[in-house]
Amino acid sequence: MAKDGDVKLIGAWPSPFVMRPRIALNLKGVEYEFLEEKFGAKSDLLLRSNPVHKKIPVLLHADRPVCESLVIVQYVDDAWPSSGPSILPSDPYDRATARFWAAYIDEKWFPSMTGIAKAQGEEAKKAALDQVAEGLSLLEDAFGKISKGKPFFGGDTVGFLDIALGCLLGWLRVTEKMNGVKLLDEAKVPGLAKWAERFCADDAVKGVMPETDKLAEFAKLIMAKFKAAPSPQ
């Protein structure tokens, strides 16, 4: 059992970004204290630990903060090198590939998904959904090339890119439910559809992946709050 100074994670159960370091810590068998933030009110600890962005997740390792979900995941991999599997691939080219797709997911694909909720009118909604589907098709292709027939992007075990994409599955399912569409369609993206099942069933993921129904309820709650409140800036 890895024990290297006290480990805390500031986060919130609905956040896909918070799930990322949780999975990384689980893979490494590191015990940590989960400090749940209350929705709508940022704790003093969060504001002190992440003064630049004021966002979750924040990892506190022996009271030293690490911020930004993928930076935290790499940190966990670096800080506990001999525990559990390697999260990042060992070959520099494979690492660059994993980082590339993780950046694509955060900078292009995830915003296209949140774009669906923001789309006004049928046409805009369809265009937004098409964008997400296009992205999934790119990722399906990437999965084929990177996994090389193995169960995960990371090979035999869950790795960096699995974590980057997998944590968004909950919100993807909520999007499907709320729009009455199937995006992770076995007919269109068979590789990813099966990968998603394996990912969600993994021991490191099971306990931290929120149930779709619970997330959908939460989504309705925040959407209602945003519609009620005047536009904050």
Partner: protein, 218 residues
């Protein structure tokens, strides 16, 4: 084994400069190919089909895209005796955090291509705030990582080539606002890898004027 290293670049791009600095820091021989972004080469479109952007590093035919990913790849592939990223996990995380901060927050384009005076004022404010935060992080250190030039310095210094263009656009003196940061920049410019990779600030300014002329004509 013959090693082939090509860098697809566009000379005013700060992102391309990051890759050039890293390659030169490691003493890697590379074939620098200038792209005409209005008419992208078949090689660029083939090697970066997702984004179709520069820089792209092509190592023995295999492409690496996205400047920070390229810099990390260069660091992990060559010159292990002189690493750009720190060796201690916590320091590495800090370095990654600050490079990520730059990519999320610095927008030179927001200032120089601002459509209105109002937009420019807002962009100028944000730009200076961002530089001040970075200056705070630098503190009294010689470089962001301490005594040695490293990853965060490589990631930030290219923007120095745009300082004159930003200052004249927005009527601002970066020296007045962030003297320590300018001091750091001049220190970095003394390194051959940096001096060779950054274009002259006046050349960048001229480029900016040309682009503005073209945009007005459209």
């Amino acid at each position: 084994m013959a090693e082939e290293v090509i860098l697809l670049d566009f000379w005013p791009s700060p992102f391309g400069m990051r890759a050039k600095i890293a390659l030169r820091e490691k003493g890697v021989d590379f074939d620098l190919r200038e792209e005409d972004l209005s008419s992208k080469s078949p090689l660029l479109l083939e090697k970066n089909p997702v984004h179709k952007k520069v820089p792209v590093l092509v190592h023995n035919g295999k492409p690496v895209c996205e400047s920070l990913i390229i810099v990390q790849y260069i660091d992990e592939t060559w010159g292990h005796e002189s690493p750009l990223l720190p060796s201690h996990p916590y320091e590495r995380a800090r370095a990654r955090f600050w490079a990520d901060y730059m990519d999320k927050k610095i927008s030179v384009g927001g200032v120089v291509w601002a459509p209105t005076g109002e937009a420019q004022e807002a962009a100028k404010k944000e730009f200076i705030e961002c530089l001040k935060v970075l200056e705070g992080e630098l503190g009294d250190k010689a470089y962001f990582g301490g005594e040695r030039f490293g990853y965060v310095d490589v990631s930030l210094i290219p923007f120095y080539s745009w300082f004159y263009a930003v200052e004249t656009s927005a009527n601002l003196s970066i020296m007045e606002e962030c003297p320590k940061l300018v001091g750091w920049a001049k220190r970095c410019m003394q390194r051959e890898s940096v001096a060779m990779s950054l274009p002259d600030q006046y050349k960048v300014y001229d480029f900016m004027l040309e682009v503005r002329k073209k945009r007005r004509a459209q």
